[in-house]
């Protein structure tokens, strides 16, 4: 399962490589939001190809949820809040967990900067456009158009900011 994820990431990477001439800076591959019981409530793929299917994304989410918890238990320091960054050959995974237990994580090109602040911004968008939507039921999958719109703007802004550097 983990392999299939890596494969798809690797596949995307090769495509990204060809795009690098036009977009020299890093890219975000995908974004996940997991509720406090480990259920995937939001998934967005930013790759140009090699989109993961629903089952794969669900598996990545539940695997990450468990690994995150295990890392907290295994950590030699007390009060550890779990893995924040996983660096692999082909991708980085940045994770932010809110104090209420919701996890936001992005999978991105290795070495991508400023992902912590992007995740914080996404958390804020979640509070504004998901939790304040009177039709959203807590812990349930997020299907809010306004969140989608504002999220793409935030991700876009992040990319532009990086291109500008």
């Amino acid at each position: 399962m983990c392999m299939s994820h890596q494969d798809s990431i690797a596949l995307k990477l090769s495509l990204i490589d060809s795009e690098k001439k036009r977009f020299p800076m890093a890219a975000i591959y995908s974004l996940y939001i997991i509720n406090k019981s480990g259920g995937l409530i939001f998934y967005k793929d930013y790759g140009s190809a090699g989109r993961m299917d629903t089952n794969d994304s669900l598996r990545v989410a539940s695997l990450w949820h468990s690994m995150h918890v295990i890392s907290q238990q295994l950590s030699p320091t007390t009060g550890c809040s779990g893995i924040e960054l996983l660096e692999a050959d082909t991708f980085d995974l940045h994770c932010f967990q809110s104090l209420t237990g919701t996890k936001f994580f992005v999978v991105c090109e290795p070495g991508t900067q400023h992902m912590e602040s992007l995740l914080k911004d996404i958390y804020e968008l979640y509070t504004d456009y998901v939790l304040k939507n009177p039709f959203y039921e807590m812990e349930m999958p997020i299907r809010c158009e306004l969140f989608d719109i504002n999220l793409s703007q935030a991700v876009q802004k992040d990319r532009v900011a990086m291109l500008g550097r």
Binding site: G38, H65, S98, L99, T100, G101, K120, Y126, T127, D128
Partner: protein
Amino acid sequence: MAPVGPRSGDAIFANVERVNAELFTLTYGATVRQLLTDLEEVEEVNKQLDQMGYNIGIRLIDEFLAKSNVTRCVDFRETAEVIAKVGFKMFLGVTATVSNWDADGTCCSIILEDNPLVDFVELPDTCQGLYYCNILSGVIRGALEMVSMKTEVTWIRDVLRGDDAYELQVKLLKQVPEEYPYKDDE
């Protein structure tokens, strides 16, 4: 990147979208009045206001955390201070004070001198026993429950009942440990 520190209640309040407080105060008042008409029993109104507050609190906590950059509090004392100084300021534009701690630091009072919920309010005699601001206690209880703290929130003083301030007692019942997806024996 340097970690972003917690922001002061004033700074956050200056940045959030704000509205005319009169609208809020009158809407809350009209709601209490409608509940009194529909439910008749004052006790039942207290219960509903608390429930409404709880439902609000479980959502509002995330907005609070996202916009305040508050990190995990070391103990319940810090939690209470953050609620009083940052929480009240960020949403209601007023600050509260914390006092009357018990010896083991699990029970304290949050005291509110300026309370926007009660501008223009006078309770008629028929509303004896009504905790007019009961929505506030529900909000605190709901918000804390989302960060693993079970609390009991009760009114000690109420200006509408003739006291000199609003005093909420917040008692920490238990700190729920983080939930693990697997039991040890699995």
